[in-house]
Symmetry: C2
Subunit: 220 residues, 2 copies
């Protein structure tokens, strides 16, 4: 039942006390083994390169090279890179996005229960699962807001009108749109007028704003 090969973990945090605490928590588990520690980002990269751990617990705030950059370097430079769990103190830390961007496997709060910590380490070591706290909900909520119900006018636009609106949002003048669409300038004016009416805009600027707000330009 017990895997003979323990999960090898490296700790990266500038505060010695935090490292000690983490080590104490993880060492209590028979299937976890702390194989290295680092106090700076640069050190973390070196230790990981040397120890080849399965999981890295990486603090975001560290002198010289921060945890994000260190994560980036580790994942970029190694063949079989470890799973990196970014650790931070505050929930509304904007680092979550950075952590995700650079390919961190997870994101944990320092205030998390020890149980959650060891559980997280086991999880990222064994599967392609990411761990994220409530902050991610904010991200998702924002995304949901951006992709919310498109206004009714989007569906009412005819093919030509949509095309014209797209060109308007590209910053083209009526004459340029006419040239690109192979029609007369007067025709474009008609379409623009229709777009303005349907978007309830009084000028092309407001129409373009409406297009952006509605996420009308998705699919570029």
């Amino acid at each position: 039942m017990t895997g003979p090969a323990p999960i090898r973990v490296v700790l990266a945090d500038d505060e010695r006390m935090v490292r000690t605490a983490l080590r104490a928590i993880l060492s209590a588990e028979p299937d976890l083994e702390v194989v290295g520690e680092a106090a700076t980002g640069a050190e973390a990269v070196a230790v990981v390169r040397e120890q080849r751990p399965d999981v890295v617990l990486m603090d975001v705030r560290m002198p010289e090279v921060d945890g994000i950059r260190a994560t980036e370097q580790i994942l970029a430079g190694l063949a079989g890179p470890p799973r990196i769990v970014v650790v931070t103190t505050f929930e509304n830390d904007s680092y979550v996005y950075d952590a995700l961007r650079v390919g961190a496997a997870g994101f944990l709060l320092k205030r998390a229960e020890p149980d959650a910590l060891v559980g997280a380490v086991r999880l990222v070591a064994r599967s392609d699962t990411l761990l994220f706290p409530a902050a991610v909900r904010a991200l998702a909520a924002e995304h949901a807001r951006a992709g919310r119900t498109p206004p009714a006018w989007v569906g009412r636009l005819t093919g030509r009108e949509s095309e014209v609106l797209r060109h308007m949002a590209g910053g083209l003048t009526n004459a340029e749109i006419a040239r690109r669409m192979g029609v007369g300038a007067a025709t474009v004016k008609t379409h623009v007028a229709s777009v303005l009416a349907k978007t309830d805009a009084r000028d092309r600027t407001q129409a373009v704003i409406a297009a952006y707000e509605a996420g009308f330009l998705r699919g570029t």
Copy 2:
């Protein structure tokens, strides 16, 4: 050491075989207890209301009421709602965003290892941790793209110019901006001209586009 109260789990999936498999996996763990099953979203809501579980494993695709809507209803209607882990088959499922939006505590793939599954259940039951597969990386990457390096001109704008650009992006005419800022129309024209020059735009529409593209309106 062992908590006497097991984690109560409800399974919601339209395929009987999946439910059986999940039940088998979870029942093998002494600290987990499957207290109910549901084959539709509506059923899931009813079962949860009755059983008050700690965790719900919710399939996204279900007849009548899908898992997302069911999650929404459960979290909206109950006082002490359970943690809901949304389960799906495919990784690039757009449901991740929906799951996050409606407040699901986690997101798991059916192809995940049994170990990961039980680990996930324990984790969401005990802590405020979210579980997400690689699909979230795409979300983050998109967010990173949207929040990429702001163009140089953003920093070059003076206070007044920024204010004017913000109003332009609000769809106001020069006269309206002048009124709102308590200055003369000529002054606004000057600022607009500066903005156009710095944003390399030839008209206000292009300037507004630049503002949107640069994420200049963040903080609204």
